[in-house]
Amino acid sequence: MSERQGGNTALLDAVRAKFSGTVETLDEYGDIVLVSPVATMHDLLAWLRNEQGFDLLLDIAGVDCLELDDAAERFELEYILYGVSSGRRVRVRVHIPETNLDVPTLTDLWQSANWAEREAYEMFGFHFVGHPCLTRLLTHHEFVGHPLRKDYPVMGGQWCSTSSDLTDELNEDQRGAPR
């Protein structure tokens, strides 16, 4: 356990040295969480991947903070990263206002961001700038709305009349995997 704490302290020091002032650090149940504004998000994540060895993007979780007390903005995105060689995990949290849902895409850093961002888009409505194919993934193509938002009713089912045409996915140009 102390080895992990040692690793954590080193990472925290490096973050504070490089991104002092813009990135806030938190500790939740022993995990490090870095809170970053949207503007520095891409740089922070690229630095974590290239310099700090967090080469596995585990997940992208969207959150609607409408019913949470003391939330900074309406929406949040949580990026969960893991370093395969170091065995450490870190999370990056970005607060996103309802008025501007543009978020830079991470598909140029990790290929796993492709589908994860598509899901965050269809469930919450984020617009990932630069994504190769930002269309619905899990809900059907005639679905209107973003179901995981708190103001979408739980039982709001929508009928679908035809099966979808997968031409967008067919023609999607997935960029070559970054090394």
Binding site: Y29, G62, V84, L138, A177, P178
Partner: protein, 434 residues
């Protein structure tokens, strides 16, 4: 050459149906070709068009419902589009309306081939959030049943993968052994597939009599099934041709796609959460982590078969060493009191009522906890707002990320390779779509 937008209504399927086709010229070309036959055919100016084929969602080889829409040039896939979401059941939305313990049956149906592992993964996350430490007996029992589920999940995966390649017998061998293990779990939990046996803070009830002997008897069938399948399949020329080099991926690409679990280990990376961040005394068990070399279908299948043998070792060790003691944490906020207390004391009645109706209330905060399931790393990102119902649960499904790489794996391969690759990725639609 016609338009490639993929609208099959306007794209003729035969070159001879194209408006610009000229039969006379075609026949002249054929006559010329017949003369040239001995010197070899030059097919570079043969009038061909790409064909668009849709595979799924109702298809015997796609286990679970997904679509693969391919643009074919002969048998080679030029481009592919993957369609998922045909089993999207709104897990993340509906659990926001249920108390925490009622989420456990929903987690069962995520990866329904190894339901107990999902239950335990969720309970482990909740216990960490609530600051509970389950007793030693529970830890070892959880390890034993998780490894039994690992054997069962890999049996289904490898069995159905080999069926798709064309060998049906192995499926019956594996299913027979799996049914014996399933009977043991049925005696333990009461259900055949979706067990819901784990609880937040412990287990639903203690082990039945004779559990140890039943497990040992059922486990005896497994090495026989594995050796039968190995003997039939692994050195078979057809099997080797269909799986070696098919769907190969490098470790760097796999990590970029977010792969974990046996699929990542088949590429050469030995990432296993049971070794790297052990929980429930996994560091005290003796077992190895099998690792492949090339990341192709052959390696994926062999890694799974080897993992079954390692899980056998863990179950043997676990079964021999289950400590005595309670199985539930002694915490009133989370556990239901005994029936005697509920029926005789007022405090017991109120405790029972509160825990059942409102659910345990973790402190305000967020947690991400991961477990090594048979498919890879299953993570739960849980946000609590202090009430008895979760504010948000995001599931990190391992096969979501393996499936995302399917487009990369099959483009350039042949149509028949789709099933060889798809079976090896062990995509369970319940977990993929949630």
């Amino acid at each position: 050459m016609g338009n490639d937008t993929g609208k099959t209504e306007s794209t003729p399927q035969r070159g001879t149906h194209d408006e610009e086709f000229d039969r006379g010229t075609f026949e002249q070309v054929l006559d010329a070709r017949r003369d040239d036959f001995d010197e070899g055919l030059d097919l570079s100016d043969l009038n061909t068009q790409p064909m668009f084929v849709n595979i799924g969602p109702t298809h015997p080889a796609t286990h679970g419902t997904f679509r693969v829409y391919c643009k074919l040039d002969g048998e080679t896939i030029e481009k592919a589009g993957i369609g998922v979401g045909y089993l999207h059941r709104g897990f993340e939305k509906i659990v926001e309306t249920k108390p925490y313990p009622q989420v456990i049956p929903y987690t069962d149906r995520l990866n329904y081939c190894s339901s107990l592992t999902n239950n335990i993964a969720y309970c482990k996350a909740m216990e960490r959030m609530l600051g509970l430490e389950v007793p030693e007996r529970t830890k070892i029992i959880r390890v034993v049943i998780m490894e039994i589920q690992r054997i069962m999940d890999h049996m289904i995966c490898v069995g159905t993968n080999i069926v798709d390649i064309g060998a049906l017998t192995n499926f019956w061998y594996f299913f027979n052994a799996r049914d014996h293990l399933n009977s043991v779990l049925e005696a333990l939990t009461g259900a055949r597939l979706t067990y819901s046996y784990s609880r937040i803070g412990g287990l639903a009830w203690d082990l039945p009599e004779g559990f140890r002997d039943n497990v040992r008897a059922a486990l005896k069938k497994v090495p026989r099934a594995i050796s039968d399948v190995r003997g039939l399949v692994v050195k078979n020329r057809i099997f080797q041709d269909r799986t070696r080099g098919v769907g190969a991926i490098s470790t760097a690409d796999a990590i970029s796609y977010g792969w974990t679990g046996p699929c990542l280990r088949s590429t050469g990376c030995d990432l296993d959460l049971r070794k790297v961040a052990p929980y429930y005394h996994y560091d005290e068990f003796e077992f190895d982590v099998p690792v492949g070399a090339n990341g192709d279908s052959y390696d994926r299948m062999l890694v799974r078969i080897a993992e079954m043998e390692e899980s056998l070792k863990i179950v043997e060790q676990g079964i021999a060493n289950i400590p005595d003691g309670p199985i539930n944490v002694d915490d009133k906020r989370v556990m239901l009191p005994s029936k005697e207390r509920v029926h005789t004391t007022m405090e017991g009645l109120i405790n029972h009522f509160k825990v059942l109706i409102e659910g345990p209330k973790p402190p305000v905060g967020r947690i991400y906890d991961a477990t090594e399931t048979p498919n890879g790393e299953l993570g739960f990102y849980i946000i609590s707002n202090g009430s008895g119902q979760p504010y948000r649960i995001k599931v990190r499904p391992p096969c979501f990320y393996t499936m995302a790489a399917l487009k990369y794996l099959i483009e350039g391969a042949m149509v028949a390779d789709i099933v060889a690759v798809l079976g090896g990725l062990n995509v369970i639609a319940g977990e993929l779509d949630r």
